[in-house]
Symmetry: C2
Subunit: 301 residues, 2 copies
């Protein structure tokens, strides 16, 4: 029995706005082959993904299922006509791309589909710092801001996927004139605090700026406020922060301090006593998406 | 079989900050006896509740379980030493009251326990406007503001219960100098938009003021912003608004219009096309809590 179950192979794609990462792995999650493909026009990128899986089949054997964690917005309702499609997106050429249809047809296996950030939350849940924790939030602070929420062991979903980056928030007092990076909202989290909005303020980059610089002071406030609101909204046991912005050295302790100032004592004692084990960095940064897409594949294999 | 199952009786308590409502009902949910008891000192109020259940037993028979939906904060973790207690509360005398322990001991039946607003969300789910809808948010806008969230058919809970009223929000431009009613936060939803905060601004009451009055203009903005954030946070299929503030005539259509302005097209097409079936009034106003507490009782009977 054991040799049969470990011989089963799974495929996964982390479909991002800049690159697609394709892997195949055994059921234990060990990655056997991996390829990074730039996100160009859909036809070119998807064909290159298909080539990868054809090669992988020749070298390692057939996969029994595929998991895809995709950039959005995407249609997740299995009853919708456009289930598995990328919806209206600013990414040129990609609106209306049928990801699930393409790979179902090419590979002939069940395809599980979710957002990149939900896949990353699943990856954290199965292999990351929140293993065994059934109530947590994973937030990526990268080009955009998105949250994947596990509640009672399951992903929170409803009418479409969460769009946590678009909650409306107060501006920092030093930041009242900054331009929002969001085309829809003057005052949403993503518009004011994403990596793209930081780049808008400092086109030469913010990574070299000190954390005392006004841009970072405002950013620390926004990310701490985000954690304070997540705390009241979901009552999570942990908040896991990932994404490129979080790579800034020394940022997390500043967020901890500002978070405590903002919640002002109004949070569970366990959080107040040990904030550094409550708001934590991703232990899977860079691979959470692939690990989660494999977990998606496993769920339909 | 039928006569046995309808003969089973359930008890329920909606434990509010101003009154406790005690009922017993048959399994079909028909209320057989009901009593409203003012919230005074715990010993007095709880004894009066106990008297009710003693009388009810004599007149109707034994209950097989009790459900309690309580004002908070309360301890919901069954593994905590103070499970079933009311925690530190501004309500004089009530901090540290062991509700579950008192009624378990007095009545000798299983007791299910949750927040008043979670009980109300359950009531809406079983008997209200969201029957059969497995992803929705119930918000009470009363003395305070609280939300009960059903996701995938289950209540969202984590490290304690949700404290949605304490999310930090931007102030309305006409409202920058208003005093927050929250002792913890200068800029939280409950501090700026609850019934208590309205009363702070207009001690003679706001119900007679026109909706064009600056107090109501700010209130409409806050409640619309609350709905906009709930939309991005939970992706619910419906938002149900209850509580005393929502009784103001003409308020809901103003919230609809302001909501559409704030989300600015960034929401599911079904919401944008028919906002009046998305943000809806409670159909169970005044009884959702009791109906939900009966559903809680049913879950342990």
């Amino acid at each position: 029995m054991n040799s049969i179950s470990t011989a089963k192979l799974l495929g996964a794609i982390e479909a991002g706005g800049t690159k697609f990462i394709c892997v195949i792995a055994n059921e234990a999650g060990e990655i056997l082959m991996r390829r990074t493909i730039p996100t160009e026009q859909p036809q070119k990128t998807l064909s290159a993904c298909d080539d990868f899986f054809v090669e992988a089949k020749l070298r390692c054997g057939s996969i029994s299922a595929l998991g895809i964690g995709s950039f959005g917005p995407i249609e997740l309702n299995p009853n919708a006509n456009d289930y598995g499609y990328i919806k209206q997106t600013p990414k040129p050429g990609w609106s209306g791309t049928n990801l699930v249809g393409f790979f179902s047809q090419k590979l002939g296996v069940p395809v599980a589909f979710d957002t990149d950030v939900n896949a990353a939350a699943l990856g954290e849940h199965t292999h990351g710092v929140t293993q065994g924790c059934d109530n947590f939030v994973y937030v990526t602070v990268g080009t955009g801001i998105g949250a994947g929420v596990i509640s009672g062991g399951l992903l929170v979903q409803g009418l479409g996927h969460l769009e946590f980056g678009h909650i409306l928030i107060p501006r920092h007092a030093h930041d009242v004139n900054a331009v929002s990076n969001c085309p829809f909202h003057e005052n949403c989290l993503e518009g004011l605090a994403s990596g793209a909005s930081l780049n808008l303020r400092a086109p030469s980059g913010v990574s070299e700026l000190s954390l005392d610089h006004p841009i970072w002071i405002a950013e620390i406030y926004y990310l701490a406020l985000m954690c304070a609101n997540l705390t009241q909204i979901y009552a999570p046991e942990k908040i896991v922060l990932g994404g490129g912005v979080m790579l800034k050295q020394g940022l997390l302790p500043k967020i901890h301090a500002e978070f405590l100032r903002l919640v002002n004592g109004y949070a569970h004692e366990r959080i107040l006593e040990k904030v550094e084990s409550y708001i934590v960095p991703s232990a899977l940064d860079g691979v959470a998406g692939v690990v989660g897409a494999l977990a998606l594949a496993r769920s339909v294999s």
